[in-house]
Structures are given as structure tokens and as C-alpha cells.
Amino acid sequence: MSDAALVRARGLRKEYGTGEGLVRAVDSVDLDVAAGETVAVMGPSGCGKSTLLHLLGGLDRASGGELHLAGQRVDQMSERGLARLRRDTVGFVFQAFHLMDELTAVENVELPALLAGKSARAARKRAVELLEQVGLADRAGFLPPALSGGQRQRVAVARALASEPLLVLADEPTGNLDSAATLEVLRLFETLHEAGQTLVIVTHDARIAATADRLISMRDGAFVDETRLGGSAAGSLASLAGLDG
């Protein structure tokens, strides 16, 4: 394990039920993610990859094992500590976008900053910058139902970046998107990767996984394979994924 690892998990477990009904969603996983690295986690539905992501981001508590994030022991954190972690250190991108339908794009993006106690003006300034960064400056005042799937996911990515997180966790970010929208999001992740953003992407789309620095395969809650892909992200992620027109 590298001391420089941003994420370090040892024997991480998540179990549901008891006795014969015991389900090990995540089964003694060891994981290191270096700063600036993009890691893809693949596996069939129900293999535990989303649960792993939830544990890494403090959305759920582990049943056992150790988890360190940016030098902090996450598995022993209080609820308040976890909230601080989610607010300052981690950004989430969900498959279902999870945008608030009653808020415009820019209002959705500024939400984490407002929750962090930043001033309304500072939060709005940062949100506008991020929407420009994801190419949606002209859609800032649109409500989510008026945006395409790709645009919604780009808004969600912008929101994930609002607090300048050390780690972005993406759970099937293109799972609800068509090919064109997938390309939009991939390009966005490519930009993030180039900018040195640490990313952990859960997917069962091999084309997306191929763009990562490292690919981890999961089955029945455990890691069954790990492949280093050799920094392909330096090139065009979209080209590698075969989505470029």
C-alpha cells in the first residue's frame, strides 16, 4: 500500500441480515486509490459495487474493516464527521442524477456550497463557473425536467465538483443515458481526469471501464480481478470507448 493513497480500505465488509439470511454485499475488500487516479469497478448487477461506493463516500456504514480517506479513519467517524466528509472531501454522481426538480440547474449546483455555509453570492459564482466548465452555462436557469439526460448528468457532475472534492465517486453515471449523452459525460470525466481529479467509477459498461487507469472486477462482494490499463486516459477517452463520431 502506498502512503500517498487517497483511499485505503482493508478488509472492508458490508453485511445485511443474520444467520442463514446473511448477505455479504461487500466481502473483505482491500483497496488503495492514489490521488489523481481513475479506478473503474465492474461487475454484474448485485455484485456489491454500488455498496462499495456508498461505503467509500460515507453514505453507508461498513460492518467491518478499516477505511481511510485522505488520512482520516472513515469507519469510526461520527454522523457529523461523515457529513463533513461528504461535504468537503467527496463528490457524488448518481445514475439517477438525483437533481431536485424544483430547483434550476444553477440552484442544484450551488446547493453543496450553501450546505457548507458559504455565502449565497460565493455559492452562485462557483456554480456558474462549474456550469460553464461542463458546457451548460446557457442552461443555468433551466429546471431538470427541461434538460436532456446528458445535460442532467453534467449538472450532477458540476454539483459533485462544487465543494472541490478530493474524490469523485460516480455510480453508473451513464447507466440512464443514450450513446450521445454517454459521450458528453465521458468527455467531462476525461477533462476531470486530465485535471488530476481522483475518480472512482462504478459501471458495467466495458467501454467506460476501458478509459480508467485501473479496472477492478467484482463478484459476490469481493474483488476477483484487477487490471492496470496503463494510463490510457492521457488519450481520448471517448475515442477509446469507441463513442467518438
Binding site: L59, R80, A83, A96, H98, A123
Partner: protein, 602 residues
Amino acid sequence: MTGRLRLIGRLAARDLRRRRTEAFLLLLAFTAATATLALGLTLNGASNDQSYRQTRTATAGPDVVLSLNPDGSAMATRQGLAQLAALEHASGVTGHSGPFPATWVPLGGNGHTAGAQVEGRESAPASLDQPKVTQGSWLRGNGTAVLERTFAQALGVTAGGTVTLNGRSFTVAGIAVSAAVPPYPRVCDDGCEDTTSMQAGAQTGQVWVTEADARSLATRSEPLYYFLNLKLADPGQADAGSSDITWNTWQSISWLDSKVILSEQNVMMIFSSLLGILAIASVAVLVGGRMADQARRVGLLKAVGGTPELVAAVLLAEYVVIAGVAAVTGLLIGWAAAPLITRPGAGLLGTGASPGLTAGTIVVVMAVALLIALIGTFIPAVRAARVSTIRALAGSARPPKRRARLTALSARLPVVMLLALRIAGRRPRRAALNLASIAITAGGIIAMLAIASTGRVSFLAPGGSGLANPIAEQNGQVMLVVTVMLGILAAINVVFITWASVHDVRVSSALARALGATPEQATAGLVAAQALPALGGAVLGVPLGIGLSAAIQHGTTVTYPPVAGILAVLAGTVTAVTALTTPAAYASNHRPIAQALHDQAT
């Protein structure tokens, strides 16, 4: 048709079994409204007639009481008494007692001061209107007095005690009731205000002393007046014949005795309307909150060929069943509780009448219960009937309202208030129902406080007696009961609204936590989203309560509750709503975030 009805019945029965707590709370809300309405309607036909007749028989009550109020001059008194003497033998008069001299004097007893209408009587029993002694004995000579029972109770005086009349000490020989004089505090309703101030008249009770004592107690400012009791073959044939003589029939005295019940009936009718509105709010909140849950069922019904009418009927059936059960329960409660309210008080003999349920009362209560169910379910049912099958099958809830200004304003506020305003802004109709529900309850409490303060103003003011007002006390007890019912209904509404809100915002709250809000902030935001409209409702309840108190007093007076009481209502409302809301909000915001987000994704 039979198949459809069976399907509707089956779905309603299963839903009732599946959601027993909700069904029970809703039943409680409906029952509170129907019971109060039933009680109010039952009282409509109630009176103290039975007790009054019993008292009249026991005291040889007169058909007519004539009171002569001369201007104090010897000439007028002589002429008036001559007129009374002529009436004793008028056609149709079959018996008489009196004329008895009377005057108004200040009374002191047991540390209280009050006014007393002192009527002079002989120690020997009168043939008409011989007060029935219920404790002690009748007059034993000069220096003794007999007090009307309600008056004695308010004073806390018993037989063997002493009172002062115009500063002179009298031994209380006994306590008695009479059908010729309305009991305290209604003694002066038949006219003794003519010789006393209104203020004093409102606190006057009846005292019997010997004729000699009565004459000696009269003063220039409070001269003697006279009562003549007549027994008539036909009261309609007699004529007072002089403007100096006031004519009071036994019916009018009986009506004064019934004023307690009439007053209570007024309270019950006003409060049952409020309870009905709260019950509508309960149904509307519950049905609206459950629409998200029922969306899939609506979609399935539509997908298999259910018409919009069938969908609406399915939604309505459950609440109609609850309304029916509540109407029957409410009618039984109203019928059982009516005798408790129609108790005659200490001024009459016997127990209260047991007014029966009339067909009209049954029909009105059933119709109102059904109407509450219909009004509360109408909008959600129409909305469900209109929603597209695909959207219903997806189980997607109605999209929340966007409030641009509220969103912009909340961005400038601390995190808890930001969350609270945005949660409240998502469902403005629900927030409005919350506000209205609390306003009605707070209004009831404020009205009660205002009326209680009226009692204190009238009876404890400088120069007042400091005595309890039995009518106000009985009204106060009734108001307390219905206000408690209002409070229960409001609490049920708060619980329903919280459940609906928790369900509605579970994903957005989880998302807020995923984005960095602490569970405490999310919980406080959800609680504040309920407490803010509640505070608004409590503030609105103040003028509403003052208006209600005026309505209960037939618009004769506008009274204001004490400031401390108003502040206590405001603080108490917010505290109660916070206490009711916190457990559900806490539980919701301490669920794993991933689980809450997963709920929507699936």
C-alpha cells in the same frame, strides 16, 4: 356492477388492515367532529323543563310572578299595591301568595361581597312559591336568612353560617330552591336591574328573610318593591293592567333556567364546525400524502381497464367506511354525553333530562361525516383519476412546486432554515392546511382564554363579588373538553402532515445529507418546515379566537385574553408541533442515505 363493488370493497378493506394506525387516527378525527356535532344537535332539543317542573311541583310554583316597582313614593306604592290586590281576585286567578316586600342590598359572606335580592317572607309556609329547603330549615324569625342554593354554593356558605346584609349580621337558617326566581346569577334577568346597577345586578343572588327584616333593610336609594305570586286558571286571560307591574310567567322563568344549556349549545355548534374543518384537513392531508403510495395501484387499475370513476371510487371507499363508523360512534357519544351537559345545576331539583337522538340529528351527522370524506378526498381522487397510466405505473409522485423567490431567499439563510423553507415550499397546500389546522386550534384556546378572562373581569373587578359564575364555569368546562378535542385533532393533523412530508422529502433530505448536511440539520429543517406554518397558524389564531369568543357571547362583547396567555399559546403550539414532528423527522434522517436514495431509484 357487483364485481366492481366487490373489488372496491376488497381494496378498501385491505388498505384499512394494512394501515391500521392511520385508519385509527382518522377515525378519531372524524369521531371528534361527529360527536361534537351530535352533541350540539342533541342539545338543540334539550331544556331544563323536567327539572323545572319537578322544582315547581315541590315548591308550589306560581303560574305568574308579578313584580311591582314603584318609584319609592308612598303614593305610588299605595296605588301599586291596590292594583296588585285587585289582581288577586281578578277573573281566572285561582290562588295567590304575597305581595312580598323585597329590596336590593349588598351582601357579605365567607369573605365575598355580592348583591342580594332580599325578599320578605313569613315563617309560616306560603300557599304558592314556598321555597323547598334542601339544607337546614326555613326562616326561624328575625335575624335569620335562607339563601338560594346556587348563590350559597358560589358564596361557599352553608346552613348555620352567617352573612351580612347591608352590614347587619344574619344567621343562615337554611338553603333552598324556588321555581319563582331564576337561580344565581340570573336573578336580575327578570328586572331587578331597575333598582340596581347592571354591574351589581349581574352578581345578585336570592335571599329570603322575614318581612320585618326586609322592610328594615330597604333604603331611600334601594326602596322596597313587591312580588305577588298568582295561580291562574288560564294565564293568557290575565292582564297586569299597569306599567309599574312586571309580568313574569313560569315559562319565562324556566327559559332563564335553560340559559346554561342554550349557552352550551352555542359553544358546541361553533366548535363542531371547527372540528369539522379540522377533520376535512386531516382527510385531505392523509389522502394527499398517500397518493404517492397509491400511485402504482392507480396505475395498475387503469392498466387493467379501470375507469377514472372506478379509481376515484376506490380511493373514496375507504374514507367513506371510516366516516360511516365515525358517524355512528359520534352519535352514540353525543347521545351518551348529553345528560352530563344538560344537568340542571344547583338552582333546580332533580337530574338532567336525557334528550334523545332525533332522525334529523342522525341524518345531519351522517351527511356531514360523508361530506367531510368527500371534500377531503375530492382533489386527490380527481388528480388520481386524471393522471396518465404510465406515470401512475412508474409510481412517481406529483412534482413539487417551484418557488423561485423562496429558493432565492432561503439561499441567504442558515442551513436549517434553507432546508425548512424549501421543504415547506415544495407542498404549499400542505403547509396551508397545517397553518389552518393550527390556527383553528389556537383560536379555540384563545377563545377559551378570552371568555375565562371575561368571567374574571365581571366578577373580580373592583366592586365585584369575586364569586364563581356557574354558567361561565359550565361553559368553561364544555369549552375545555371541545378545545382538548381540537388539540387532539390538530395533533393528528400535525402527525399526518409530518408523515406526508417525511415521505415526500425522504429522497431530497437524503440527497442533502449526501451533499454534506448533517442528520441534525436535515432533522431540524424538517421539523422547522412544520413549526414555521404552525407558528403562523398560532398567530392567526389570536384574532380568530377573539372573534370566536365574541360569537360565543352572541357578539355582545369583544374581550381579549391576557398577553401572557397569548404568548403561552404561541410558545406551546411551536413546542407541541416540534415534539410531535421530531421523532419522525429524526428517524427519517438517520436512515442510511444509500437506502433512501435507492428507494427512488427503484
